[in-house]
Symmetry: C2
C-alpha cells in the first residue's frame, strides 16, 4: 500500500473509532489498559525478539551507543511499560467532567463539559516505550491515535502495537482506535502533517529538528513540546550553598532531558565568591564550560561562549556561564535566549523573587528550586505526554487533562433568538 | 519600507511591549480602554473622513452593496465601537487569576496562574469595527496585537489606529503594544504567517478562503474560527410547532452569520406532517430550497441538492433539506458534513436528546433551541473575538479568558531533584 493510501485509510478508521471512544465508559478504558499491560508482559518474548532485530540493524547502520540504548528493550523496560499503563488506568477519567453550568436570563441552560480532542497524531523518534505511553494516555483520555515512530524502532513498534491493540479491542475499545503508520518513508511524515480531515492535533516528541519540521510544515494544529534552553540565575542575595546545590542538580543530574539547565547566570556582586567553587564542582563532574568574557578571564578551563551557545540546548554535559550586572540583565537574557520552558532564580530578596516570577515568560518559573522538577510526575499529574513550550492550549507538563477539549451543551424549551 | 522589514519591526516592537503589558494592572488597562472610547467619539470627524475615501474607492472598484455596507462607518457605528470598548473595560481582568496551588509531598509549592498569550496576530477582512474590537479584547487580556486588515478599509483602519493608539499610550499602555500593518500587499499575509519569532498565535476573522489560507500556511499556531455548516434535526417526537419556530429562526433571523442553519434534517415519520408548512414559511421568507430526492419529489419549488450543497456554508437565504430515516442517519450526516460549530435537535425523547448531546462533535450542541445562540454575548462572556471551530485551546465563543495562557510558578527552599 502506498503511504498516502495508508495514511488516509488509517486516519479515516481512527476518526470513525474516535466517535465511539469519545463516549466509552471509564470502566472499559481502564479494563483495556489493564489488559494491554498484561499482554505486554505475556508476549514479552515476541517483543524482545522484534527488538533484537532493530538492535542488530542499528548496530549495522552504526547508530551511536546512546541511540542503541534508547532503542533497547529488556525485561525491566517491558515491566516499566506495563506498570506505566496500570498507573494510567488508576488515574481519574478526565472525560465528562462538568466545567460549570449557567442559566441565562432567558432560561437557556449552558453547560461546559470536558470531551476528548478526537484523533491525536503523535510523531516520535527512537524510544519504543513512547508507543506504549502515547497509546495509554490517548486511550484513557478518550482519543483515537495515529502514531508515526522512528524507522530504527519499526520492528519493536510493530510487535508492541500488535500486542496492545489486540488486548485493547478484546477489552471493548472501538476497533480502529489505535493506528500505527507502517511505512518508514520519510514522506509519510509530510503527508501526515496535512491530514486535517482526520487529525485534530499533532504532538511531536523528539529533538529540535523533528519539532521544527512539524511546526514549519503542519497545517494540522500542533502542540510544540520539549525544547528547553533553561537558565538558573544566582542573585546577589542568594544563599550560595543553596545556589550551588541547585545549579549542580539542574545541570548534572540528567543533562540529556529538556528541563536541564543550559546557561548559568550569576550576579556580578557574588561572582567572585560563587564561581570558583561552583566551576570546580562542574569540572569534577566532567562538565565542559563556555563563558562570557569575564568568566573566561577569571577562570581557567573555560572556553569562549559564542552567541550560538546562549541559544543552544546542549542535551549534554556542557554549560554556558554568564556574569550579569543585575536582575534586569538576567531577565533580558532569558527573554532573548530562553525557550519558555523552565527558568529559576536563587535569591533571598522578596522583590526580586516576585519580579522574576511575574516577568519571566516560561511554562515553569522557579524560586529556590531546580528546573529539573518540570515533569508530569513531579507536578502530580501522574503521567505526561510531553512538556508544552507554546502558549496555546496547554503549557508545561501535559497530563490527561491537556489531552482534552470542551464542548457546550445547551438545553432549551423552544428558545429562539430575537 | 518593504513589508518584510515592516513586519519584523512591528513584530519586535509588539513583543517588547508584551513583556510590559503582561504585568500591567487592570486599572491602567481599563483607563486606556475608556480613553480609547472617548477618543473615537472625539475624533469621529477624522475617522468618517477617512472612511469616506474607502467608500469612494470601493464604489470605483465596483465592490458589492453588501461589502460597501460592511465597510461603511457612521455616527451610530462609531458610538457602537466606543460602547464596545466601555463594555470590555467593565469586564473582570482575566490576568493573574489563580487556577489552583498544590503543595507536593516534598514541600514544593506549585501554583498555576493565568497570563496573557503574548502577541496575538489578527488577520481580518472588510469591517473596520473589527480593528477596535480586536484591540480592545487583546489589550484587556494583557496581549500586544499585530493587526492586518482588509485593503478596502485601509484608510478607515489607519485613522482608527491613529486615534486609539495615541489614547492608549497616553493612558499608560506600553508603547508599541498596538501594531497595524500598513502595507496592503497580499504577500504581507504570507510573511505574517511565518512570524514565529514574534507571534504567539494568529486568529483569522473572515470568510472560508481567508481561513483556509491561514490554516494551510501558518507556522504560527492558529485558532480557526467561524465556518459554520450548522444543522437542525427535527426528531420523530418533536413538538412540530416548536420545531418550526426554531428551524425558521435558525435560518432566517440572520442568514449571513456563522451560527445560522444551513441544513435542515427531518425524521421521515414526521416529514409529511412537518415539511409542507415549514417549506411554505421558508418560501414566503424568500428562502431558496435544495432538497434530497424525497423532498424534491414531494414538494414544489425545491431544487436537487448536490453533495456540495450538504457541505456548503451558504451565508445566505438558501437552505438544504434532507429527510432521514432515524437519529443515526442524522448523526452520521452531521459527522460527515458538519463543521463542528453548532448543531441542534428538536425532540421530546430523553434518550435521543442525550445521545445527540453526547455523540455530536461540535462546539455547541443544542436541544430544543436555535443554533443562533452561539455567540459571546448570548453565552454571557460579554464580548468575543470569534467562534473557535477547532478542538485545541478554545472551542466555541472566545471571550477574554480564551485570549490567555497559563504558567506555573514554583516556590522552593533549595529543592533539588533526586
Amino acid at each position: 500500500m502506498d503511504y498516502i493510501a495508508e495514511l488516509k485509510d488509517k486516519g479515516a478508521a481512527a476518526k470513525l473509532a474516535a466517535r465511539k471512544l469519545s463516549v466509552a465508559s471509564a470502566d472499559i478504558k481502564d479494563k483495556a489498559l489493564a489488559a494491554m499491560a498484561d499482554a505486554l508482559e505475556n508476549f514479552r518474548t515476541d517483543i524482545l525478539a522484534a527488538n533484537s532485530i532493530d538492535i542488530e540493524n542499528g548496530k549495522t547502520k552504526g547508530l551511536s551507543k546512546a541511540l542503541i540504548d534508547r532503542l533497547l528493550l529488556n525485561d525491566s523496560r517491558i515491566n516499566a511499560m506495563a506498570e506505566g499503563l496500570r498507573q494510567i488506568a488508576a488515574l481519574p477519567d478526565p472525560i465528562g467532567e462538568g466545567l460549570g453550568t449557567k442559566r441565562r436570563p432567558n432560561g437557556l441552560e449552558i453547560s461546559k463539559v470536558r470531551v476528548p480532542l478526537g484523533v491525536i497524531g503523535i510523531i516520535y523518534e527512537a524510544r519504543p516505550n513512547v508507543t506504549v505511553d502515547a497509546v495509554g494516555l490517548c486511550l484513557k483520555s478518550g482519543n483515537a491515535v495515529l502514531l508515526r515512530g522512528g524507522s530504527e524502532a519499526i520492528n519493536s513498534n510493530l510487535a508492541i502495537i500488535n500486542v496492545i491493540t489486540r488486548a485493547a479491542y478484546s477489552a471493548g475499545v472501538a476497533d480502529g482506535a489505535i493506528q500505527f503508520i507502517e511505512t518508514t518513508d520519510r514522506q509519510a511524515v509530510n503527508a501526515m502533517l496535512k491530514l486535517n480531515e482526520y487529525l485534530d492535533v499533532i504532538i511531536p516528541r523528539g529533538g529540535a529538528g523533528l519539532i521544527k519540521t512539524v511546526v514549519d510544515n503542519s497545517s494540522v494544529p500542533v502542540i510544540e513540546t520539549g525544547i528547553g534552553v533553561c537558565h538558573t540565575f544566582v542573585d546577589e542575595s542568594a544563599d550560595l550553598t543553596m545556589a550551588q546545590a541547585i545549579a549542580y542538580n539542574a545541570k548534572v543530574s540528567r543533562p540529556g532531558v529538556c528541563n536541564a539547565m543550559e546557561t548559568l547566570l550569576v550576579h556580578k556582586a557574588v561572582a567572585d565568591q560563587f564561581l570558583p567553587g561552583m566551576l570546580k564542582q562542574y569540572h569534577e563532574a566532567g562538565v565542559e564550560l563556555r563563558g562570557c568574557p569575564l568568566t573566561v578571564l577569571q577562570h581557567q578551563g573555560v572556553k569562549h561562549a559564542t552567541d550560538e551557545d546562549w541559544a543552544t540546548e546542549y542535551h549534554d554535559l556542557i554549560l554556558a556561564v554568564k556574569v550579569v550586572s543585575d536582575l534586569d540583565e538576567a531577565l533580558n537574557h532569558i527573554a532573548k535566549y530562553g525557550t519558555r520552558h523552565s527558568e529559576a532564580i536563587v535569591t533571598k530578596n522578596y522583590d526580586n523573587a516576585r519580579r522574576f516570577q511575574q516577568e519571566v515568560d516560561a511554562a515553569a518559573v522557579y524560586v529556590n528550586a531546580s528546573t529539573r522538577f518540570t515533569d508530569g510526575f513531579e507536578f502530580g499529574f501522574g503521567a505526561e505526554i510531553g512538556i508544552s513550550t507554546q502558549k496555546i492550549h496547554a503549557r508545561g507538563p501535559m497530563g490527561l487533562t491537556e489531552l482534552t477539549s470542551v464542548k457546550y451543551i445547551i438545553s432549551g424549551d423552544g428558545h429562539i433568538r430575537s
